[in-house]
């Protein structure tokens, strides 16, 4: 389980994350929802160690990430996979080299074993005949799939996805959503998806955290969402505007 405890983040004078307490459940798809500029991306970046919080804790199985030694932090990071909004594929490498990269860096697999794992990950995201292509030669949806394949190449425990559907058509968005859901269940990983797409919430969301103006406004299961809308006008406005 990942927990945020009284998390605050300032950018100079601007208070971006305001005393956030939230939990992300293990083995399920946790959705962080909210309007653009509400602090979702900063929250996710703080959780993966890209933005240091001004105060508060990020607990991975009870261990505060920011109180760990550098080597322990690096070790924990190898249990984290991330799908970036812009995919962040290494543009000088081919598709298969991108997926192979974490294996090359952090495993002692032989070349054949690495190739086998790369093929497995690429077939898992339904990407065939693209191994030798560079990121510039493939579509946005394919890039997202390569990003997912790279994220799951190592046996990760946590998968973070920053706006996985941004820039994709509705059909491809659903394919990516289904893929994230299936991978979460198949590998038993804790997935945190940062999104403002309510269709994603409806399709694959299990545990929802609603962030509004830098604050955690509501947290609960998908089933509780419609009930929560009645007592929470901001959440209600966001959900209705999204449809």
């Amino acid at each position: 389980m990942i927990q945020l405890v009284e998390l605050n983040k300032y950018f100079e004078e601007k208070h971006v994350l305001k005393n956030i307490n939230a939990s992300f459940l293990p083995g399920v798809a946790n959705l962080v929802i909210g309007a653009s500029g509400g602090g979702k991306s900063v929250m996710v970046k703080t959780m993966v160690g890209l933005e240091k919080p001004s105060s508060g804790q990020v607990l991975f199985e009870g261990q505060d990430y920011y109180n760990l030694e550098y080597e322990q932090q690096q070790k924990l990071r190898r249990e984290i996979g991330m799908l970036f909004q812009g995919t962040a594929l290494f543009d000088s490498l081919t598709v298969e080299q991108n997926v192979e990269f974490p294996l090359l860096m952090f495993s002692n697999m032989s070349k054949e074993e690495r190739q086998e794992r790369v093929n497995l990950c690429l077939s898992r995201v339904n990407l065939v005949n693209a191994n030798k292509k560079t990121p510039a030669e493939i579509s946005g949806g394919m890039k997202k799939r390569v990003g997912i394949a790279r994220a799951i190449a190592l046996n990760i425990k946590y998968l973070f996805c920053d706006e996985p559907n941004s820039g994709l058509d509705p059909l491809t968005s659903r394919v990516i959503d289904d893929l994230l859901h299936d991978i979460t269940k198949e590998f038993g990983i804790t997935t945190i998806i940062n999104s403002h797409d309510m269709k994603t919430v409806k399709d694959i969301g299990e545990h929802i955290v609603f962030v509004h103006q830098g604050q955690k406004w509501w947290e609960g299961s998908k089933e509780d969402l419609s009930e929560a809308q009645k007592s929470n006008p901001e959440l209600d406005a966001f959900v209705k505007a999204s449809f």
């Binding site: 993966v48 990071r77 190898r78 090359l104 860096m105």
Partner: protein, 252 residues
């Protein structure tokens, strides 16, 4: 941001550059790639610039000696002086400084833009999330590659400057080859070779490390990536000239 903050950030940056690489074999393959990119790809520009500069220096020096300055009649100057001037100025100044100023524009801008682009496209964040020391991973092969390759380019440039002068002397007939070679030999001191190598190593470190630093802290988009390249080249040129003076003062 003031100069002191910038220098402080640069020192902290360098601390991470020289941490032990995560994977030796990945590091070596990246180092070879960088050396190839910097060395082979810069060879043509170095050959052209060095040969032409050597020829121009010879022609202009000979022309100045041949003109009546009013101090001494031109007939009193032996033309071997031209070889002497070209030889010593090539080793001491033209080969290290001019070559590195040119390479600042080529290699420095290239490194800063490449790393800047990696920064704005979140590739550096991807390294960080994987638990890789991103500063060391992207910068160390470039900095070491630069320190190995650029001094080699400077040595090549030095030979070509002298060769360019010799070519100009022969083609224009302003002096005999014997005069040129005699001049070259008479002016050379072993200390000059030491100065050349010290400048080469210092300038190549400035080019590669400052370009990496500038690229790594790029923020924004395509416009800022271009600005990072320009800013890197400007700072590198100023620092090369500053250290040129310091090394000359200390070693000569």
């Amino acid at each position: 941001m003031n100069v002191f903050t910038e220098v402080g950030r640069y020192i902290l940056f360098m601390r991470y550059v020289f941490k032990r690489p995560e994977r030796g074999r990945v590091f070596w393959s990246m180092l070879v790639r960088e050396m190839n990119l910097m060395g082979v790809d810069s060879l043509v520009v170095v050959i052209l610039i060095a040969t032409i500069t050597g020829a121009v220096t010879t022609v202009q020096t000979a022309s100045q000696l041949a003109s009546d300055s009013g101090i001494l009649p031109p007939s009193l100057f032996p033309m071997a002086i031209v070889g002497s001037v070209v030889g010593s100025s090539s080793v001491l100044e033209l080969a290290p400084t001019i070559t590195c100023l040119v390479l600042a524009g080529k290699i420095g801008a290239n490194i800063a833009s490449e790393i800047g682009n990696m920064r704005v496209s979140e590739q550096i964040d991807a390294y960080e999330v994987m638990g890789i020391n991103s500063i060391g991973f992207v910068s160390l092969p470039k900095i070491l590659g630069g320190i190995i390759v650029i001094p080699c380019l400077i040595i090549i440039s030095n030979f070509l400057l002298i060769f360019g002068g010799l070519l100009a002397a022969k083609l224009t007939g302003i002096m005999t080859l014997d005069e040129y070679v005699t001049g070259l030999r008479s002016s050379f001191l072993p200390l000059y070779a030491k100065v050349l190598m010290v400048k080469g190593v210092v300038f190549s470190f400035i080019i590669s490390s400052l370009a990496c630093f500038q690229g790594y802290y790029t923020q924004g988009g395509a416009l800022e990536v271009g600005e990072a390249g320009t800013s890197a080249v400007t700072k590198i040129c100023v620092l090369i000239l500053l250290f040129d003076l310091i090394i000359a003062k200390l070693l000569l």
